[in-house]
Amino acid sequence: MDWRRFSFIGFIIVFLFTVVVLIGGSRVSPTIIISSMLTTTIAVATPLTLGALSGVFCERAGVVNIGIEGMMLAAAFFGWLAAIYMNTIFKFDPSISLWTGVLVAILTGGLFALLHAWLSITFKVDQIIGGTVINILAVGITGFLNRQMFFGEGSIFGGNVPHAPGLLPSLSKWLTPLCGGPQGCLGLPTLIQGTFLDQKPVAIAAIVLVFVAHYVLFNTRWGLRTRAVGEHPKAADTVGINVYRTRYINVVLGGMLAGLAGAYFTIESVPSFEPLMTNGRGFISLAAMIFGNWTPFGAWAAALVFGASQALQINLQFFRDAIPPNWAFLQHAYIVGLAPYVLTMLILTGIIGKTTPPAADGQPYEK
């Protein structure tokens, strides 16, 4: 990650924030706008950050994973399903149900990743095809079960779609003893309070995991082995590293990260499941990973850019009436909604510097 890329990212984020402040500034104080933008940015960047980290682990070990989208979708569904089952069928209290949901989501991601690993490492299937299989499989299974369980005649829940038992609480709820006072949390400035303490567990976990991933990849023996396997598997094999095992574990770890991202959709963000609800986040994650040059911090920064462009869309909808007439195109959610996708394509053209994938990325290893 070089300074050019970081400053480019900083520039885009500042630009997007400025647009919103210029439009909404007459209605609401800029501090509140910036605070709300920051909160939204970090929140919506969560699945992208986790998805990009998932990609980093898989690809550093030499396995291309375009199935992240499907893993997220399946995890979102099964995590949500588990939370509902725990709550309505087994009568556990909501908080235990929700955490079980998170766990099941992580496991679902891991399981789908195991399938991907099996296809791409053991059977040496073309990895992009393998990922596409995962994506289509996830759409099929979640669509089928969703309809079969909730909508069909004689379905288990008899036509009523139950909501998940609420959502995970934000961090400030947990810190009630510290944050209950009139000054808020320990008298911290509102900006920080709003930005970080109002985040929910998966969002916080994503940020922590960025640091953990960086440490693991670049400061531990495991990380060194992972990178060796992704750069030059033959050399790694020669010095006694088990290439297949290392790849398997990294792909499954990556899948679990994608699974946690799935939990964000149905357990942290909204309490319900919609078919196809991941809406391309998994693919944008991959773009973030590429733009971040296969590093955790770079991927996080790129995910934040996409988060900011989505925050722009959400906030502009809020300030819709304040948009000046000659900027009327900003009133259309569909037009502003193009921002993350156009940005992704722009970034992939390499105008902000070339990126280098791990040397053995995407190639099956034959002993």
């Binding site: 909508f151 909604g337 193009l338």
Partner: protein, 377 residues
């Protein structure tokens, strides 16, 4: 093991039959295995697999009407499947068929309903229909050529870019169909265009059945793609770039041009899927109609082993499943979505033919199918 001498002693058509059998063995077993696994899933979900599959077969091929509907479904599948297959031949993975199809449909619909109003005259059918379809295939081609150019000149990977173009197309068509192009009829609440003029419509083949001339057109186009790929210089260049881009470079093939042309042709076919759906079936474009075609097209291209004939057969199979699923749901209350599960299983077993070869103890006779080449491509 078959030796060279054995092969020589066989007559020509025997060889053709044998190679066709070899080519179709694994896909056939993949379909069979997927159907068995799908049956297990149906049983686990509390349904009766026999009744379900019987309903499916009846709905797909049980009557003249069923056949007609299957061909109606198959028409866009053939075009979109050919689009993905052609790109695969050129070493490109076009996940963007969905967006190209949607853009083609929008362009065709616009020429179909708005052009006569703008010109203030009624355009004769002999001119209007080709114009409408032409607009659709042009829109699809342009929409696909963009990621092609980004790949050729900037190294942006087409997998991500075509997916992004899908979302961009979805957003733009949502905007158009909810705004400037929305059917102004006061009774209309759906995001859709007005109906296209009579002159811009593809006629049906048999009175009373919905199957239209788009289906024979699709078969003709499949033949055209085969001819292009194996009988023309451009086709040779596309296949060379797909098989080995370095060799293509050394052989003096302008690989950048070939990449862009391949993507444009691929988008042209996908756009044609949209154009034919509008002119032959729906007579308008409706939001949401195009969703799902992209992934289905990939599955069809892979099941058909990226060969035009295979694509046609795979399309008819998938179309039959989609068509029969409605009757299956009506008879057995098993959601139509099970079809997506079975189709993804088929794709899984076709892509990982090692599983099938292992299950049925078939020796590998050909090299592994390598279709894509990581991020460096």
């Amino acid at each position: 093991m078959q030796t060279v001498d054995d092969r020589k002693s066989q007559s020509g058509w025997q060889q053709v039959l044998r190679s066709a059998f070899n080519a179709m063995l694994v896909p056939f077993l993949a379909i069979f295995t997927a159907v068995v696994v799908g049956g297990v899933i149906i049983a686990l979900a509390g349904g009766n697999p026999w009744a379900a599959y019987l309903g499916l077969a009846q709905g797909a091929f049980g009557s003249a009407r069923a056949w007609s509907e299957t061909f109606v479904w198959a028409t866009p599948y053939i075009f979109a499947g050919l689009a993905v297959a052609l790109a695969f031949k050129g070493g490109l993975f076009n996940i963007g068929a969905e967006g190209q199809l949607a853009f083609g449909a929008v362009a065709t619909a616009w020429v179909g309903y708005a052009l006569p109003e703008i010109l203030g005259i009624e355009i004769p059918g002999i001119l209007h229909l080709p114009l409408a379809i032409g607009a659709g295939i042009l829109a699809g081609a342009i929409w696909a050529a963009i990621p092609g150019a980004l790949k050729a000149y900037a190294g942006g990977h087409e997998v991500i870019n075509t997916i992004m173009m899908n979302y961009i197309a979805l957003n733009i068509t949502s905007y158009l169909l909810n705004g400037p192009m929305k059917d102004k009829n006061p009774l209309n609440v759906i995001a859709r265009t007005p109906e296209i003029a009579e002159g811009a419509r593809l006629p049906v083949i048999f009175e009373g059945l919905r199957v239209h001339w788009g289906f024979p057109l699709a078969l003709l186009v499949a033949l055209g793609v085969w001819y292009l790929l194996w009988k023309t210089t451009l086709g040779f260049e596309i296949r060379t770039v797909g098989a080995n881009p370095d060799a293509a470079k050394y052989a003096g093939i302008n690989f950048r041009r070939v990449i862009i042309v391949t993507m444009a042709l691929s988008g042209l076919l996908a756009g044609m899927a949209g154009a034919v759906e509008v002119t032959g079936l729906n007579y308008r474009h409706e939001l949401g109609f195009s969703i799902g075609y992209g992934f289905d097209a990939i599955a069809i291209a892979l099941l058909g082993k990226t060969h035009p004939l295979g694509v046609v057969l795979a399309s008819i199979l998938f179309a039959g499943m989609r068509n029969g699923a409605t009757r299956m749901q009506f008879l057995t209350q098993i959601p139509v979505d099970i079809i997506s599960v079975i189709q993804s299983l088929i794709l899984l077993f076709v892509a990982a033919d090692a599983i099938i070869r292992y299950l049925y103890r078939i020796k590998a006779k050909e090299d592994r199918l390598v279709l894509t080449r990581g991020w460096r491509g």
